[in-house]
Amino acid sequence: MKKTEECNRVMDAYLGLDKGERVPFKLTLHLLTCSKCRKQVKGLKMAEKIAKAPLEIPVPIDDESILAVMKKINPRYTSSKNPISITRWIIYGLAMILSMFVFGFSKFQEASKGVLISFYLLFAFAVTVYCAMFVGTNMDFFVKIMTTKKVDRNAEKAGI
């Protein structure tokens, strides 16, 4: 009976907490020892997380109403959506590397050392330029990945 009263008191205190508000130590202590309350808290957290998720999904940059507003702001505005997908970048990159390898090996016997060195230098230069262009035109994608990883690392450090 005493346990139920304590559970009710703790759950009422928990339900009164605001978004982002730190759970008081007393409540945390009770949650550590009471699986019933812990399950309820876990369920509530999950419900709140699921409820807010759909409104947090961004819309595409070339969305019609976004373009309409941007045209009002600046009539010459154009969406800068990347026309080449990441998958295509990877496929074309691999095809380029593969064709260079095939060409290099097929000429390996007949070509002189100087020609081969020039070829491989050109090969290295082409791959470097391609990689730089890939990263440069997909900067948003890499920044997003790095930000997500940073948030996860911080969360891990905080023991969440």
């Binding site: 699921i50 807010k52 941007m70 905080a158 969440i160």
Partner: protein, 192 residues
Amino acid sequence: MESQRTDIEHLTISRRDSELVKTTLEGDQKSFARLMTLYKKRIVAIGMSFFKNSVDTEDFVQEVFFKAYTKLDTFRGDSMFSTWLTRLAYNLAINSVKRRDEYVQLSDDEILKDMSDTPEEAQIRKITGEAIREAIKELPAQYAVCLDMYFFYDISYAEISNITGLPVNTIKSHIFRAKKILRDKLVERGFV
């Protein structure tokens, strides 16, 4: 523990938005387009609740963002950009001549259907909607929007009070009741 995660998330979002506002004010219009991609769904949801049709909602969305752009220099950063934008949208909606009398609860809306939902998540989302509708039955009409703001828009008590001008303690007690109903429903349906 969860609150620490929320703190980190809020800080990350706040920094990202402040940076986008700053670069917009420096003349980079693409940064403003990015802000719109992040908050369009939220503004559409507010519009649908107040106008109940997609044509007026589309006009509303464009009006909100255009006004936000023209008034961006008044954003001082003492609240989150999302709160500032929501307050602007809320004020435009309640003062609009096209606005319908009754606010429509977001828990019914198509916009909340997430294609990535697992069956369990869909069920929990449905229960949350039921709990909010049940809590709202006994509330004065103006508080319906507060429950939506807390559960679906992820806005804190103080920020809701800041946006709507309603007293924070009253908001808190109504949300408390909705949470209690939600908890009971989750227990009843065997989710906890």
